[in-house]
């Protein structure tokens, strides 16, 4: 059986499974639609958070990214896991206790202002939209690479699947499909990484192999020989300041991402919210501690099997010629000596796209076609689960916060449910449009999603819980300044991608790049919130009572109705 056919079969099986779950989990009321009825067990919620959070980028791109950044790739490893410490300790239990449907729900109520609610809703939509565009593109790319269909058709199939389970089952459908998708993606990832680790080191547990085998040092030596950077040494591809700022921004941003935060509303109790955090970090860490190992082993293997080989030898490697067709892998015997050499300057004859690291590993390591098919299904699971979570966050901000809480508070349950379903459909269509016609800067604006979440939502929620004296004026000014600063800074630094200028208008903010500038925005937000709130009147008594109330995990559920 050909790899293509096997891949098709495995993808079809997993998709049928997701569709079945969507049908099984169909809901009839808004509580079921927005927070899955608040009945998800902590372990399942942990798996759903993990799938929700780990996108196509985590699955397909991250190990490759790290393998090209070396030590400094830790910005993604620490940044994207350390945020869960903030999330679980500082936000999750209290948001669960407060217990409504969305992030703007909390911000709007806590700051007794529909303006603040609207700003939070718009931030949610914007953050999720920039993110989901890339996911849909990812779905299309995986389809086109593994099944040789057009990217557009791939995007359409992905849209259809997500629309089905999200419209029918809302958060409940999304949750249980995410649990299934987590299982698929982690199995695919671990088998691939375990096999290549076992092949190179004899230790099939990638984390253990990375620490004890000495291959990271071997890769460093190999790279130094070729004139590439010292893999294992800190701050070779980024300054120490940037590593610090980007890690911080990704941590705070992770804790402020609305599609992740709302998942804590879907469990029964405050205790279950805390334990969801436990399960989430365990499930996420399984992939995140594997990625650096996969990066080292895959890159070592790639360099070793290509460098100093003759053109004929490389042409005979089946995966090499296959990947050469996609343009993600290029070789060109520039000096005509018949041998391909990897160097760090113009004489380089081998170009490897970092996205190929994960996707090509099974073939490079000569694993069975079954594993190759599984990786394709895993990549799709990762992209689809995140897309579904983002679509849900986006459409609930539109349907629940803007339509119901602000525009039509008298809407009936049925009307609200209908609007929620239509807004999911709308969100799917917009996301699909961006997937088919990707704005050139999609990859670049992921910095936006994190920077804005870090500079707007996270400080507002945190201060809302821990600072009783924080008032509407403080929060509004804090969010406004944090958002504006981060937004403008990213626009200026990413101007070539966004406005098409020849050079960035400014290259950095005192040495901090666009990915890290959100941490400055967050600090500004905190400072201004504090200063303004202390110079204006205290929040009303009932708000101060609300803050006291959410700090104690008793009687959860009382606040859970609208």
């Amino acid at each position: 059986m050909s790899v293509e056919l096997l891949t098709l079969i495995i993808i079809a099986i997993t998709f049928a499974f997701y569709l079945y779950i969507g049908w099984w989990a169909r809901v009839r009321d808004t509580k079921g639609f927005y927070v899955a009825g608040g009945e998800i067990p902590a372990v399942a919620n942990g798996a759903a958070i993990a799938a929700d959070w780990m996108s196509g980028a985590s699955f397909i791109s991250m190990a490759g990214l790290i393998s090209f950044m070396g030590f400094d790739g830790t910005v993604y490893l620490m940044g994207w896991t350390g945020g869960y410490v903030l999330l679980t300790l500082l936000l999750a239990p209290y948001l669960r206790k407060y217990g409504k449907y969305t992030v703007p729900d909390f911000i709007g109520d806590r700051y007794y202002s529909n303006t603040t609610r609207a700003v939070a809703a718009l931030a949610t939509i914007f953050i999720s939209m920039t993110y989901v565009a890339g996911q849909m593109r990812g779905v299309g790319i995986v389809f086109s690479r593994f099944l040789q269909v057009d990217i557009t058709i791939g995007v359409f199939i992905g849209m259809g699947i997500v629309a089905f389970f999200a419209i029918l089952g809302g958060m409940k459908g999304i949750t249980w499909t995410q649990v299934a998708q987590y299982s698929v993606l982690i199995i695919a990832y671990m088998i691939t990484a375990g096999a290549i680790a076992g092949m190179l080191t004899g230790i099939p547990i990638p984390q253990v192999a990375l620490t004890f085998s000495g291959f990271a040092q071997k890769l460093t030596n190999l790279q130094v020989e070729l004139g590439l950077m010292e893999y294992i040494k800190p701050f070779q591809s980024m300054s120490a300041l940037n590593v610090f700022a980007v890690t911080l921004a990704l941590m705070i941003g992770t804790a402020g991402l609305p599609h992740v935060i709302v998942r804590f509303y879907t469990v029964k109790t405050v205790r279950a919210a805390r334990w969801s955090g436990v399960w989430a970090i365990i499930f996420i860490a399984l992939l995140y501690t594997t990625a650096p190992a996969l990066g080292v082993f895959a890159k070592y293997n790639l360099i070793n099997s290509l460098n100093n080989k003759t053109v004929e030898e490389v042409q005979q490697i089946e995966w090499a010629s296959k990947w050469a067709e996609t343009g993600l892998f290029q070789f060109n015997d520039k000096n005509g000596d018949g041998i391909l050499n990897m160097t760090n300057d113009d004489t380089n004859e081998i170009v490897i796209d970092r996205d190929t690291i994960v996707l090509s590993t099974p073939e490079v390591a000569q694993l069975s076609p079954f594993v190759i098919a599984l990786v394709a299904a895993g990549g799709l699971a990762a992209a689809l689960s995140t897309a579904a979570g983002l679509l849900m966050a986006m459409s609930s901000a539109a349907a629940h916060d803007i339509y119901y809480r602000i525009l039509r508070p008298e809407a009936t349950e049925q009307q609200r449910l209908k609007v929620a379903r239509w807004s999911i459909l709308g969100a799917v269509l917009i996301a699909g449009w961006f997937g088919i016609h990707p704005p050139g800067f999609v990859g670049e604006v992921v910095a936006f999603a994190f920077g804005l979440a870090a500079a707007s939502l996270f400080p507002a929620i945190l201060l809302g819980i821990f600072d009783k004296r924080m008032n509407r004026q403080g929060a509004t000014w804090g969010i406004g300044v944090g958002l504006a600063f981060t937004f403008i800074m990213i626009l200026l630094m990413r101007s070539p991608q966004i406005f098409g200028t020849a050079k960035p208008i400014i290259s950095s903010f005192f040495g901090i790049n666009a990915q890290g500038v959100g941490s400055v925005g967050a600090i500004l937000n905190f400072a201004i919130s504090y200063f303004v709130s202390r110079n204006t009147e205290a929040p009303p008594q009932e708000i101060q009572d609300l803050v006291e109330e959410i700090r104690i995990p008793r009687g959860v559920g009382q606040a859970h109705t609208h």
Binding site: Y84, Q217, T269, R271, T289, G555, H560
Partner: protein, 100 residues
């Protein structure tokens, strides 16, 4: 709703909660920002099995510490809930008006 006489007890609970969070976040910052980044250059000269200490902390160790911190928090808070009798967390289904 909340009875007034519990307020003192609640404040004590909240204080202990804050104390726990503070300790855990200090460890979080020490491991990731101080150990993994600020001291990365000197730490990269300390061998740690097949890699060096800075690399291990940044790409493996810190993540393991994050797991430990979250687990400790969840376990400690369960204990605190019990101690302060907040462990009876009830779901009230308001439509039916029953506690489950």
């Amino acid at each position: 709703m909340v009875e007034k006489k519990l307020t003192e007890k609640q404040q004590e609970y909240w204080k202990k909660n804050i104390g726990l969070i503070r300790i855990l976040l200090i460890i979080w910052a020490l491991v990731s920002y101080v150990g993994g980044i600020i001291l990365a250059v000197p730490f990269s000269r300390i061998p740690f099995f097949g890699v060096n200490l800075a690399f291990w902390l940044a790409q493996q160790g810190s993540i393991l510490v994050f797991i430990a911190l979250i687990v400790i928090y969840a376990v400690r808070m369960d204990k605190l809930d019990k101690e302060y009798d907040f462990h009876e967390i009830k779901i009230t289904d308001q439509k039916k008006g029953v506690s489950a």
